[in-house]
């Protein structure tokens, strides 16, 4: 029988108290759920990202699972090596996880990620998406949404966010999903599904960042929910080439999402309207893809 969110919340802790995460960190919430689902039977590769710091400084660690910290571009390649190294020694029952931020996934890590996906390496790649280079102090990435202020886009980013999950799905891998920490039941269901598969699995989890997005630290979950409810972050999965939207909330105005975050405060009503159209267009494109049946082959 599938475990419920409440069952897992009671289980053993793998992310221990005393991490170096910022208050209200969405990435850490995502990580806790992932470790609960994995029940510690894992080896993590963590490239340069917020989690390099969150784990805490040497000689201690707040993580009660094996972690290999790695260079920025190399998460998927290193995880591939670990998976093959375990395989050649007949070690089974361990899920190798590449745990990377959006910079390490959408940008500098995309080549190694694409290679590992194409080879269908037996790894679970999880991108926690906080929509900018947060560990270096809020610079735009390929995941930053249009309009958002960052330190390298002081007037707001001009470009759209990369459609990363669909890029990965286009490799024809067994499983791709988006998730949000605002919807842990959906997230856990997808994790469980991924853990029961072999081959290359990719989950991209929405992880709001109070520090970088500039919202109150007690609003992380609210922002994570609103991202889904305003169609900024659609929840879907691609299984055996078929795309399925896993949640269809009644759409709320984008303003409800943007008004909570000061990274959008410079935007005029017209600009927010344009942004809303852009995200709606992405949603509609997703619905078209869903209607097409098996397409990512």
């Amino acid at each position: 029988m599938a475990k419920t969110v409440m069952d897992l919340a009671k289980g053993p802790k793998y992310v221990l108290p005393g991490t170096a995460a910022c208050p209200g960190c969405g990435a850490q919430i995502a990580l806790k759920w992932v470790l609960k689902a994995l029940e510690g039977r894992t080896i993590f590769v963590i490239p340069a990202c917020c989690t390099s710091v969150i784990q805490g400084p040497y000689p201690k660690s707040a993580f009660k699972f094996p972690v290999f910290n790695m260079a920025f571009a190399a998460a998927a390649a290193t995880a591939s090596g670990i998976a093959r190294g375990l395989k050649t020694q007949g070690k089974t029952g361990v899920t190798v996880v590449a745990w990377a931020g959006d910079g390490g996934t959408y940008d500098i890590g995309i080549q190694a990620l694409s290679g590992a996906a194409e080879r269908n390496e037996d790894i679970l790649y999880i991108c926690y998406d906080n929509e900018a280079y947060m560990n270096t102090g809020i610079q735009r990435s390929g995941a930053t949404p249009p309009g958002a202020w960052t330190k390298t886009t002081p007037r707001g980013k001009a470009e759209m966010k990369k459609n990363m999950a669909l890029i990965v799905a286009s490799h024809g891998v067994p499983y791709v999903a988006t998730a949000s920490i605002g919807y842990p039941a959906d997230f856990l269901k997808k994790l469980e599904k991924a853990l029961n598969m072999r081959g290359f699995r990719y989950i991209q989890v929405f992880a709001p960042c109070p520090t970088g997005w500039n919202f109150p630290v007690d609003k992380t979950i609210e922002v994570a929910k609103l991202g889904v409810e305003t169609y900024v972050w659609p929840l879907f999965e691609v299984e055996r080439g078929r795309l399925r939207i896993t949640m269809r909330p009644k759409r709320k105005p984008l303003k409800e999402y943007t008004k909570l975050q000061k990274r959008f405060r410079h935007l005029t009503d017209e600009q927010i309207e344009e942004l809303e159209k852009a995200f709606l267009a992405r949603w509609e494109a997703l619905e078209k893809l869903e209607a097409q049946g098996t397409i990512f082959v």
Partner: protein, 401 residues
């Protein structure tokens, strides 16, 4: 090379790259990330064939870049697998970041580097700029002069790298085309003999294991152990000098072959002029020594096999009391001179040895350097030394100047 006749195994006439692939097979390497680059490519092709034919039991990862090749090797080594890869030139440069990572993580990864010039402009031919540019990564860097030495050195260096006094990765460097694509007679040792010499890799330090979780490589503050970790890498590198000597001696006892250890000396004991070089220039230099000796010149050769760790003591020991050292580099540290010459001058100065050093940079981008060229360099060096015209670098075989 010293070769005893009765060794088990078989003889074949093969390229340097084929010899290296045999070495990876004989070492029972478990994971091979592979990415093609001229003139390395046939190494990973031969290994693919060995695996496809069931002659080698290894995971073969067809990565999308050399950066990923080394990252995968690091991952596999971090769970305790013996790993091997091969590259050249631009590929080695692309790996640079993760070469440092392999060292910091103390993973005894093995790699063949088929030396090739660095672009631009494109050149696929031999020089040592690629490997020399990795000087300060903490990899053990060994240059070889024959296909046999390439095969034997890979086997020996796994034993050195995995020794718990060392725990550092290694690269065995062979000259592009001059060895990689040139057929030479090679003795391929018996698998049982290799197994007895190089047992299965059982890591004595941490591995990634959910039963015994550790966090490897997290943030270290300035007052913690970062500097001590760097110091320990240096200490292990120094320790590796004696381990290389031990392992070379054991290899000689078991297999009857000796290519030197940190260095190889040829007719050097009574020489008053010593040529110092590496790679296939060293085999060419043996020829030059014979020719010059026939003319009555008292010349010998000191071949640097191990560039890192650098054989400071051997160099000083050979240099002391000689009239002249003629150092020939196949790479250049722009604005300074030949990297070997620079290290040698540093070693001599440190130990108060005042033997004059004339350092040549030559053979870049595969320009052919024969034993006659080496004899000419010796003559030029004698003139420079007697006229007391010592400079940081002499260029040889430039088309102008």
């Amino acid at each position: 090379m010293i070769q005893r006749e009765e060794a088990r195994g078989k003889w074949d006439i093969i390229t340097g790259n084929h010899a290296v692939a045999h070495a990876a097979r004989l070492a029972r390497v478990k994971v091979v990330p592979a990415y093609p680059i001229t003139p390395q490519t046939t190494i990973v092709e031969y290994i693919a064939d060995f695996i496809a034919r069931g002659e080698m039991d290894a995971e073969y990862i067809r990565v999308e870049s050399e950066h990923s090749a080394m990252a995968s090797a690091i991952g596999a080594a971090a769970v305790g697998a013996r790993t091997f890869t091969a590259t050249a030139s631009q590929g080695l440069l692309l790996m640079h970041e993760v070469l440092h990572w392999a060292v910091g993580a103390r993973l005894p990864i093995g790699m063949a580097v088929v030396n090739r010039a660095v672009g631009p402009p494109w050149s696929i031919h031999v020089d040592h700029q690629d490997a020399i540019s990795q000087r300060d990564t903490g990899w053990m860097i060994m240059f070889v002069s024959s296909n046999q030495e390439a095969l034997d050195s890979v086997l020996m260096m796994y034993k050195v790298a995995e020794d718990d006094r060392v725990l550092l990765p290694f690269m065995v460097c062979l000259d592009g085309f001059v060895l990689s694509h040139t057929y030479q007679p090679v003795h391929i040792p018996d698998q049982g003999d290799v197994d007895a010499f190089l047992p299965e890799y059982k890591p004595k330090h941490w591995i990634m294991d959910p039963e015994d979780p550790i966090t490897y490589g997290n943030l270290v503050m300035p007052d913690q152990d970062y500097m001590e970790m760097r110091w320990s890498i240096h200490e292990s590198m120094i320790e590796a000098k004696s381990v290389i000597k031990e392992v070379s001696a054991e290899f000689r006892d078991r297999f009857g072959r000796f290519h030197g250890d940190l260095v190889w000396k040829y007719r050097a004991d009574d020489a008053d002029v010593v040529i110092v070089t590496t790679g296939t220039l060293a085999s060419e230099a043996e020829e030059a020594v014979d020719v010059l000796r026939e003319k009555g010149e008292n010349v010998g050769l000191l071949k640097i096999r191990s560039y890192r760790p650098f054989p400071t003591e051997d160099v000083v020991g050979v240099a002391d009391g000689r009239k002249l050292l003629v150092v020939i580099d196949r790479s250049i540290s722009f604005g300074q001179g030949g990297p070997l010459a620079t290290d040698i001058r540093s070693a001599l100065f440190t130990y108060g040895v005042d033997t004059p050093v004339v350092g040549f940079v030559t053979g870049l981008g595969g320009r052919d350097i024969t034993y006659e060229d080496i004899a000419k360099m010796v003559a030029i060096a004698r003139e420079k030394a007697s006229a007391r015209e010592l400079r940081p670098v002499e260029w040889y075989k430039l088309k102008k100047g």
